[in-house]
C-alpha cells in the first residue's frame, strides 16, 4: 500500500491474519454445508471468531493511527464486514445458524477483498465530522441489513424446500426453524432501521452543506431502502406481514442499499 496520503495506513499484520482466518472459516463452513462431520461447523465458528478478533485489532490499530473507518469507502467496507460478522457470531449463539455461516464468512472475505481492490483508499478531500458520522452510521445500518438479508435469504430457500416437500437436502435437515429465521431477520431490521434513518438524515444535511444535487441517483435509491424497511416494520405491526413476503421485502431493501454502495465505489473509482 502506498503511503502518499498522511492518513492512509497499510494494513497491519492482524489484517492479513484475519484474511487467512476468514478464508479458513469460509472453507470450513462451506464443507460443513456439503457433508458435515460434526466437528466442522463449530470449528468454522471458532475460526470466524478468531478472524473477527484479528480484524477488530486491525480496525482499532488504524483508528489509533487516525484512519477512521468513516473516512473512505474502503475503510467503511472493512467496518461493514466486521459488524456483520460480529452480529452473526452474536446471534448464532442462540439460533441454529451453522448453515448461514457458509454465506456470511465468504461474504466477509469478498467484501474485504473488494475493499482492498478498490482504488479508493485515500480519504475524501474535505471530509467534515458530519460526513464521517454519516458514513459510519450508514455503514453500521447497512451491515445490520446485510445480516438481516442473509437470514431472510436463508428463510426463502428453506421455505421453498419445505413447500416443495424436498426432504432430502441439507436445508431441510440442518436448517433453523422458519419462524426463528423470520423473527431474527425482523429483529435485525428493527435494529438497523433507526441507525439507517439517522444516517440518511445526516446525509441530507451534509449533502445540503456541500450543495450536492438531490437528483443524484443514490439519494433516491437510498430512499427505496428506507421505504422498504420502514414499510416492512409498519406492515408487520399493523397487518401481521411475515414469512416469505417479509423476507422478499428485506432482500429488496438491501439490494437498494447495496446499489448505493456500488455507486459510491464507482464514483470514487472514477474520481467523481
Amino acid at each position: 500500500m502506498s503511503e502518499t496520503a498522511v492518513v492512509t495506513v497499510a494494513p497491519s499484520a492482524a489484517f492479513y491474519v484475519s484474511l487467512i482466518l476468514y478464508a479458513a472459516s469460509a472453507l470450513l463452513f462451506i464443507s460443513a454445508f456439503v457433508e458435515a462431520p460434526r466437528w466442522m461447523a463449530p470449528t468454522a465458528r471458532w475460526a470466524l471468531l478468531a478472524a473477527f478478533v484479528a480484524h477488530g485489532i486491525d480496525i482499532s490499530w488504524r483508528g489509533v493511527l487516525h484512519v477512521h473507518p468513516g473516512t473512505s469507502v474502503r475503510e467503511a467496507l472493512g467496518l461493514l464486514s466486521w459488524v456483520m460478522v460480529g452480529g452473526y457470531l452474536w446471534w448464532s449463539r442462540r439460533f441454529k445458524l451453522a448453515l448461514l455461516g457458509a454465506f456470511v464468512a465468504p461474504a466477509a472475505l469478498a467484501i474485504l477483498a473488494l475493499a482492498r481492490l478498490s482504488p479508493s483508499g485515500e480519504p475524501m478531500a474535505g471530509l467534515s465530522l458530519l460526513g464521517r458520522i454519516h458514513i459510519s452510521l450508514a455503514t453500521l445500518g447497512v451491515a445490520v441489513f446485510t445480516l438481516a438479508t442473509f437470514v431472510a435469504g436463508m428463510y426463502v430457500l428453506e421455505e421453498r424446500k419445505l413447500k416443495r416437500k424436498e426432504f432430502d437436502g441439507v436445508l431441510y435437515r440442518r436448517g433453523a426453524a422458519l419462524e426463528s429465521l423470520d423473527r431474527l431477520s425482523h429483529r435485525l431490521v428493527v435494529i438497523g432501521f433507526p441507525i439507517f434513518t439517522a444516517a440518511l438524515m445526516l446525509g441530507v444535511v451534509w449533502g445540503a452543506q456541500r450543495a450536492e444535487l438531490l437528483s443524484r441517483p443514490e439519494w433516491w435509491i437510498s430512499l427505496v431502502t428506507w421505504v422498504a424497511f420502514g414499510g416492512l416494520i409498519v406492515a408487520r405491526t399493523t397487518r401481521g406481514w411475515r414469512g416469505r413476503k417479509a423476507a422478499l421485502l428485506t432482500i429488496t431493501g438491501f439490494s437498494a442499499s447495496a446499489a448505493v454502495l456500488a455507486i459510491y465505489l464507482a464514483r470514487r473509482a472514477l474520481g467523481g
Binding site: 416437500k165 422458519l178 426463528s180 406481514w241 414469512g243 413476503k245
Partner: protein, 510 residues
C-alpha cells in the same frame, strides 16, 4: 477342567432374526418372560455352555453364550452353538430340520461383532431404533438373576452397552423420525419451535392420537380435540389433558392452533381453501402446519399453496421416514467403524483371559525352581552364607535370573495372535510340563490377583475391574459373588471373575 489347555471360554451366538426368518417362525421360537429362567437353567446344563443370555423380541430370538474354557480354537464355540441349536428346537418343540434354514450361528469375533451390532441397533429392522438396547439390558438382567452370567458374557454385554451408547452419541444413526406418527414433530419443527404451541386434533383417530402424544412430548403446551361425535373427542381430550371443543367451532379453532392433525373418516375435504384462508387472516398469518393423515384426504391440496400454510399428507410423512432411514443407513458405516474398534478391544481382553492362567503357572514354575536352588545354595555354603546380606543377594540373584529367562516367553505369550492362542498355550504347557490343579483358572486366588495384573498388561486389571462389579445393572457380579471366598482376596483382578465361573461350573456338574 476338562482340557489341559486351561484358559477362558469364548463367545458364541445362535439365533434368528427378521433377516433370516418370517414372523411365522419367529413367533414359534419366542420366549415369554417367565419361560426364560428355566430355559437358562436348561441351557447351562449343556456340557459346553457356561454362560447364557436369551434375547427374545418380536424381531429376533437369540442365545448369546460363552463356552466352557479350553478346546481348540473355535472348536468349543462350534459345539456349544450346536448344543444351543438343539436346545432351541427341543425347548420350543420345533423340528430341528425346520429351523436350520433360519438359524445362524457366530463364534468368537463374529459373535462379539454381532452382539455389538444388535445392541447398537445396526441389525434392527429400523436402523438406530432405541428399543433393542432396553430389551437387551432386560435380557441381561434376567440372565443375571438366573445366575447365568460370568466373566466372559458379563464383560461382553457391558461392553455392548457402551458401544451402543458410543454409536448413538457419535453418529447420526438415531437422527430423524423413523415412524410416521413421530414425523409430524419433525415437520412442525422445521417451521417453528414447538414450545408453547397449540395442537388441534381433528377427528379422533388412533393415528392422530399417537402423533398428538409425540407433539406433546416435544413441548406443545395445549391440545384441542374436535370430532363429529363429541363423546370420542372428550375421551381423547381427557387422555391428553386437552380440551374437547364442538365440531362447529372448527373455523375458530383453526385460528387458534399452530399444528393441525387431521384424520377424520370424511369422504369430502374438510379443510378447504376458503376456511383456511379466513383462519390465516384471523391468525395474522402466523404459520400453520397441517398434517393430514386421513385417507381419503381431509385437506384440499390447494391449501398448501396459501402463504404460511404448510400442508403434509400421508405420502409426505412416509417419504420423510424413507429419507431419514436412508440417512441412518449412511451413518451405519461410521457406526461399523466404531464397532470394529470395540471388537478389537474386547478381543484383546479375551485373549488376555486365555493366556493369563498359563502365564501365571509359568511364572510360578520358574520362581519355585529359582527359590529352591537359592535355598540349596545357601544351605550348601553353610557358614559362608550366615550373613543376612549374602543370603539376600543369592535369593535376589536367582530371582533376577528367573525373571530374565521368563521375559521372552512371557512377551511372546502376551503378543500371541488370536488364532495361535490355543496352540501357544498348549505348547508352553507341554514344554514346561505345566498343568495340574495350580494352573487351572480356579487356582489360588491370591496368586491370581497378583499375577494376572502383571500378565495381562497394565490396562487389563483396570478394565476387568470395570467389567462386572461397577456396572449399573451389574448382574455380572451375581455369578462372581457366588465364589466370594476366591474373589474377595483380589476383587479387582482380571482373573477374579474366572475362578467364580470355574467354581460355579464345577458345582453345576457335580
Amino acid at each position: 477342567m476338562s482340557s489341559p489347555a486351561g484358559g477362558a471360554g469364548e463367545l458364541f451366538v445362535v439365533g434368528l432374526s427378521w433377516r433370516t426368518a418370517p414372523v411365522a417362525v419367529r413367533e414359534r421360537l419366542a420366549f415369554r418372560d417367565e419361560e426364560i429362567p428355566p430355559a437358562l437353567a436348561d441351557l447351562l446344563a449343556s456340557p459346553d455352555i457356561d454362560e447364557a443370555v436369551i434375547l427374545s423380541t418380536c424381531n429376533r430370538v437369540e442365545i448369546f453364550g460363552s463356552t466352557s474354557p479350553g478346546g481348540g480354537p473355535g472348536a468349543r464355540g462350534i459345539s456349544a452353538a450346536a448344543q444351543a441349536r438343539s436346545f432351541l428346537a427341543r425347548s420350543r418343540g420345533v423340528a430341528a430340520e425346520g429351523l436350520s434354514d433360519h438359524l445362524y450361528e457366530r463364534v468368537d469375533d463374529d459373535a462379539i461383532r454381532h452382539l455389538f451390532k444388535v445392541a447398537a441397533a445396526l441389525d434392527s429392522m429400523v436402523v438406530g431404533e432405541s428399543q433393542i438396547l432396553g430389551q437387551l439390558k432386560d435380557a441381561y438382567g434376567a440372565a443375571g438373576r438366573a445366575q447365568a452370567i460370568g466373566a466372559i458374557l458379563g464383560r461382553s454385554m457391558e461392553k455392548a452397552f457402551q458401544v451402543a451408547k458410543r454409536v448413538r452419541s457419535e453418529t447420526g444413526i438415531s437422527r430423524g423420525a423413523a415412524n410416521v406418527s413421530s414425523v409430524a414433530v419433525e415437520l412442525a419443527r422445521r417451521v417453528f419451535d414447538l414450545m408453547g404451541k397449540t395442537v388441534l386434533v381433528v377427528g379422533a383417530g388412533k393415528m392422530s392420537a399417537l402423533a398428538a402424544r409425540h407433539l406433546r412430548v416435544a413441548g406443545a403446551s395445549s391440545l384441542i380435540v374436535t370430532n363429529r361425535s363429541p363423546e370420542r373427542a372428550a375421551e381423547l381430550a381427557a387422555e391428553f389433558e386437552g380440551s374437547a371443543r364442538p365440531w362447529e367451532d372448527l373455523p375458530h379453532l383453526l385460528a387458534e392452533a399452530d399444528v393441525v392433525l387431521s384424520s377424520t373418516g370424511a369422504t369430502e375435504p374438510i379443510l378447504v381453501p376458503r376456511l383456511v384462508k379466513a383462519a390465516m387472516k384471523a391468525r395474522r398469518w402466523r404459520p400453520l402446519v397441517v398434517v393430514d393423515i386421513a385417507v381419503p384426504r381431509d385437506a384440499d391440496p390447494a391449501i398448501g399453496r396459501i402463504d404460511g400454510v404448510y400442508l403434509f399428507d400421508i405420502d409426505d410423512l412416509e417419504r420423510v421416514v424413507a429419507e431419514n432411514l436412508k440417512e441412518r443407513q449412511k451413518e451405519a458405516d461410521a457406526a461399523m467403524e466404531i464397532v470394529e474398534i470395540e471388537v478389537g478391544e474386547l478381543r484383546r481382553w479375551m485373549r488376555a483371559q486365555r493366556v493369563v492362567p498359563t502365564i501365571r503357572s509359568l511364572r510360578e514354575h520358574f520362581h519355585q525352581i529359582a527359590m529352591g536352588e537359592a535355598e540349596r545354595c545357601i544351605g550348601g555354603l553353610g557358614a559362608a552364607a550366615e550373613q543376612a546380606e549374602v543370603q539376600k543377594a543369592i535369593r535376589r540373584m536367582s530371582e533376577l535370573i528367573a525373571n530374565k529367562l521368563l521375559h521372552t516367553p512371557l512377551s511372546a505369550l502376551k503378543a500371541t495372535e488370536q488364532v495361535d492362542v490355543e496352540t501357544m498355550v498348549e505348547v508352553t504347557q507341554r514344554l514346561f510340563a505345566l498343568g495340574g490343579p495350580a494352573d487351572a483358572p480356579g487356582g489360588p486366588a491370591g496368586q491370581a490377583g497378583q499375577t494376572s495384573a502383571e500378565g495381562a498388561g497394565p490396562g487389563a486389571a483396570v478394565t476387568a475391574a470395570s467389567s462386572a462389579p461397577t456396572s449399573a445393572s451389574a448382574p455380572a457380579s451375581a455369578r462372581a459373588s457366588a465364589a466370594a471366598p476366591a474373589s474377595a482376596a483380589a476383587p479387582a483382578s482380571a482373573a477374579a471373575a474366572a475362578p467364580a465361573k470355574a467354581v460355579h461350573s464345577q458345582g453345576k456338574k457335580a
